[in-house]
Symmetry: C2
DNA sequence: TGAATAGTGTCTGTAAGACAGTATCTA
DNA sequence: TAGATACTGTCTTACAGACACTATTCA
């Protein structure tokens, strides 16, 4: 009894099938406010949204026209949603080789007025400088960065308010529970730069207090001092540079962090 | 320009659509080896699989017949994959109200010979005693529990080997990085019972050594002593009982565990 | 010299890890 | 009383958190 025999008799149309499969991407970046010389950065976490056009490519009225939405699109049968997200991201921002990860599926019946459409949601971490070129593009009026603090006040398409809420929770968790902060930073960074990234998602005193964090960074097993290398980009006093090292982080709640 | 107008002109058939949307469930349970009186348990993590029948309900040869597979099935248009997984789980095991969570999507082109079929994968944690009845069922010959140590040596249907590999990684992580272990335990438990659950996924000495773990359990912020309550089910000397308390666990790699 | 950033010194307390010793019960 | 499990005592070492103090540079 082979699969060939079974396939011959299989009829996909027997079952009701979805009307579409899409990938949506929550693109996060960090904008540094007032990058004055000899000043540590103050950062704010932003998410990239597009404004849905009033008409589609063929000139007909568009669904959810005029609303803000996550970039994304229909997945083709010959690709995975992840590949689709990579493609969309490259098309939208010209950026490839960046951190992209699945974080959820949205399939509540009725979530899309066009029918039974399943969305596979991803988040991406794009360093600030990669979006500089993007912002200067032709259709820049249709693409904008919003602080995660007020993005949810917008008029958002479909169930994207929920997806964005979830994405924000996910990136907060990833920044604090994994070494994902390195995706926002240059290869070598100062304690105050890492601190600025983390302060976009937490207010904890252990991170917010300079002296405490400057001391802590030296004991973190996944961060290494770049010996003898300093910079003056954040202060007049030359500051020690650090880098992330590739080790597995033990995040067990039953273990000590010390490794 | 309303959505109604736009919808009138929308034609789902313009795009190629998926041939199916399924939910698969990796059902985990823990079996206690030799539950002798006055002995702490020795546990082993198991996963529930079904053997695909040779013919379908209409007597025709089945796809991937005779292979072992995750329970699951086609999602109906009026439900979410999560609801579908809940339903399947109830039908398969008679259990509801258990821990069930999405952990991934499987959509690689060609993963299912029947066509473009997207699988939404979940894992479930089912305490041992809930499966006792299940195992006595009529079609028990088609359902079996396998130790996660050797489940991957089976002949598995579709890409279920990959899904199961991922599910095992996920449950290992969840057991160590969240309080999910409570789903396998009675409400009140001894240190050696919690220890036995954790030892199914780690060998770390901080957990494996009795004295160390007996002391550590008292300092864990999410576990509470049940004052004055002891049991003799694991030893002749009455043993202190503990329970999980509902607090948010701070799992940041930049913070101390102390809360 | 003052202002700003980046640290270090020092103290107190908590906890980890190792290992030996003690407590409680059943058969 | 032996044997098994469940702890506790004690010691050493490490780091966390708080707060004051020092270091380095530019304007």
């Amino acid at each position: 009894m082979s699969n060939e025999q079974a396939l011959k008799q299989y009829d996909a149309k027997k079952y009701r099938t979805p009307d579409g499969y899409t990938s949506d991407i929550a693109v996060f970046t960090i904008l540094s406010e007032k990058a004055e010389p000899f000043k540590p950065p103050v950062m704010d976490l932003h998410i990239m949204l597009i404004k849905r056009s009033m008409t589609d490519s063929e000139g007909r009225p568009n669904i959810e026209a005029g609303k803000w939405a996550l970039p994304g699109g229909f997945v083709a049968p010959e690709e995975s949603a992840f590949q689709s997200a990579q493609r969309e991201l490259r098309e939208e921002t010209g950026v490839s080789q960046i951190h992209l990860e699945h974080f959820g599926v949205y399939d509540t019946p009725g979530r899309d007025p066009r029918g039974w459409i399943i969305s596979n949601a991803h988040y991406a971490i794009v360093p600030e400088h990669h979006l500089a070129s993007r912002e200067a593009n032709d259709d820049a009026s249709e693409v904008e960065l919003f602080s995660v603090k007020d993005v949810l006040e917008l008029d958002l398409a479909f169930d994207h308010a929920q997806i964005i809420r979830d994405a924000i929770e996910v990136i907060k968790q990833k920044l604090l529970e994994t070494t994902a902060a390195k995706e926002f930073l240059p290869k070598e960074f100062t304690y105050s730069e890492l601190q600025a990234v983390l302060l976009t998602v937490t207010n904890d005193s252990a991170i917010a207090l300079d002296a405490a964090f400057a001391r802590k960074i030296k004991s973190l097993p996944f961060i290494q001092e770049v010996e003898g290398k300093k910079t003056t980009r954040t202060s007049k006093k030359p500051t020690q540079l650090y880098r992330f090292i590739e080790i597995e982080v033990n995040n067990s709640i039953y273990h000590t962090k010390k490794q």
